[in-house]
Subunit: 220 residues, 4 copies
Amino acid sequence: MRDAYDRIAAGDVGRIAALSDGVFAVAVTLLVLDIHAPECADIHGETQLASALFALAPRGLTWLLSVMTLGIFWVGQHTQLQQLERSDRDFAWASYLFLVAISALPFSTRVLADFFDFRLALGLYWANILLCGATIYLTWGLAVGKKLTRADVSAETDRAIRRRIQIAQALYFAGMLLGLVQTTLGVGFIIAVQLNFAIAPFRAWRLSRRSGARGETGGD
Amino acid sequence: MRDAYDRIAAGDVGRIAALSDGVFAVAVTLLVLDIHAPECADIHGETQLASALFALAPRGLTWLLSVMTLGIFWVGQHTQLQQLERSDRDFAWASYLFLVAISALPFSTRVLADFFDFRLALGLYWANILLCGATIYLTWGLAVGKKLTRADVSAETDRAIRRRIQIAQALYFAGMLLGLVQTTLGVGFIIAVQLNFAIAPFRAWRLSRRSGARGETGGD
Amino acid sequence: MRDAYDRIAAGDVGRIAALSDGVFAVAVTLLVLDIHAPECADIHGETQLASALFALAPRGLTWLLSVMTLGIFWVGQHTQLQQLERSDRDFAWASYLFLVAISALPFSTRVLADFFDFRLALGLYWANILLCGATIYLTWGLAVGKKLTRADVSAETDRAIRRRIQIAQALYFAGMLLGLVQTTLGVGFIIAVQLNFAIAPFRAWRLSRRSGARGETGGD
Amino acid sequence: MRDAYDRIAAGDVGRIAALSDGVFAVAVTLLVLDIHAPECADIHGETQLASALFALAPRGLTWLLSVMTLGIFWVGQHTQLQQLERSDRDFAWASYLFLVAISALPFSTRVLADFFDFRLALGLYWANILLCGATIYLTWGLAVGKKLTRADVSAETDRAIRRRIQIAQALYFAGMLLGLVQTTLGVGFIIAVQLNFAIAPFRAWRLSRRSGARGETGGD
């Protein structure tokens, strides 16, 4: 059975991209729902509201962590899929498993936010990110191994994509180890690294303004 | 009235694909929301958190079951839509009914998770899967019967697509019968079968590594 | 300001289609979330679960009503957008207002389900459907009036699209009037009419099987 | 590392558009979930339901505010992306940050609805809109500075896009200042300005009907 079906199954890269954008869009929007607005009944003045909002800061921190993580994986997968000529059943399944790992992030984010000082919560969160990394590494391995990539994809591109996942996972692992010493330290370290990604566009923008309309920025 | 409108209605396969990816993306992401994080107030140490997370295992099992089911139907429908040249009003409605059945899965998953030992809960869950299978079988029947498929779609492809739905439904039915004896047995059986699908990419990946850059794997 | 910006604004029909598919996908999936699974604590046997599930029937009815309504509007808008050559700012805004009306359906569905015997709840629900109808009628009026449609769209197509909205709204209005006498009667009437749409594919499928591989069915 | 990866990363404008449509679709649909239907237990007659629905009016106002704001940003970003020839990693990240700001709107809307008379709530809401404006201004700056736009994008288009963001932000700022005097005044002012956008299609429609089938309306 498998052979007949396999020859025709799940060959449309666009469908994988569309499902991915859907999962990322829902995950990003759900993350913010977990920052519960303060309860009306408890608050009677501006100062009380200010401190109630301030009390949301730790939850805001885990939100920022997960939002940045989603961004990094979205850019990464976006880049991978662009290199593809076609898909097949295995690649579609591997991509689906990656998206399932991504869809679990709101859950492990909530556990981390609720149990911020617990090593187990940090471990669970890290395990989720590791699963995302492992499955996206698998999809790329499949794409190359099964010759699904476009003909003009160079060995250098292959290496760059693999290295990027390895480096990102090394950083998350380092953050997790730091977090075993103190959670805030580990989470802070990961966010600091991630903010580099977030700040890059602003830097590029300043550079592009300085170099005038030529747009000769290094980051392109 | 029907004839004038029918000639122009709902002919864009891309819209059906986009709606499907949206429904699957939301359904996958919502499933995880039903695994409620443990309550902060009850937990004061790592061990307590560990057992609270461990207590989520049955719910994790139904989540895995539904996530795998969604993946199987997504790959299946993805494959079907690829064979289409165009859509029409009947095909669009049949696809919509399939998606409605898919969108009901988070509900029947929750009932199964909450009432794991109840035959009625398993029966409801199976009825939902049967409805998904029946509607996707219908959409394919319509596509072939109404000549919506691409000219190069062979009789072999037609048979492979039908057989795949029949076999999958036979397995779900077997799982349900086993579940009448003992729910865990039935659910476990279905998950075991489904994991075959999930593990396939990993196996393909190992094979593709072994065969080097040639990518001569049997599963393509 | 308006002129310079208007010449370039919001011309991509594909973006409108993608936003629409997103809104419909989320709305369909959210509707089912409002059918709350029975509470575990209250149920100790199969019979109790059966009656608890049976008690969800009215809510299942409003769910069916809204799901069918969403399907009708989705097929309708799908058909409209297919006739378009390009979009402009006004058309994008009108489409957005239509989608806002669609996104409100889960709210008015919930009010109808919670207050099934209240005329006000039925009136609110009907007002929502009227708003969906009015805005989709507006988008088509704009498309034709501003020459956004493809050159090959005939006057007959124009009439068929308008007539379909008018007939659908007439039926919803009739259902609402019946509902003022008795809600179940009105809701039942609307669902019965809508099920015609749902059953059409099944009928087409049986016809296509009977006429063999030729697929000469009248409904295409 | 950065250079090798940067040359290939995140170049697909369609992925950014698809993620955007997903985030906007989920955000629009979630906003309505925050208008909680009245509680069944408290209501025993039509009059009670009427006053319970009427009591939702302030929440309806903030819903309208956010729905219109989402529409304005969606049309704006839609217009921007249409001018693009390609994307790159910085542009993808800047777009992602814009979408994160958009995804936070349901949260700040809820805070504003719950604490309507609090300056802090209005300030938070305004800060969110400012963040949306700043990030979308950044994405356009990047697109122009890094030459990602299509060759036929004129300096006039560039100015029109920038001016539109500046004017919109000026209006939101004015609304916020008015709101410091009295919240309803500020929110009312912003909605009044936004309704101009919403009413434009209706005006265009009436014009297009008056000018007959020629469709010679000024707004195209």
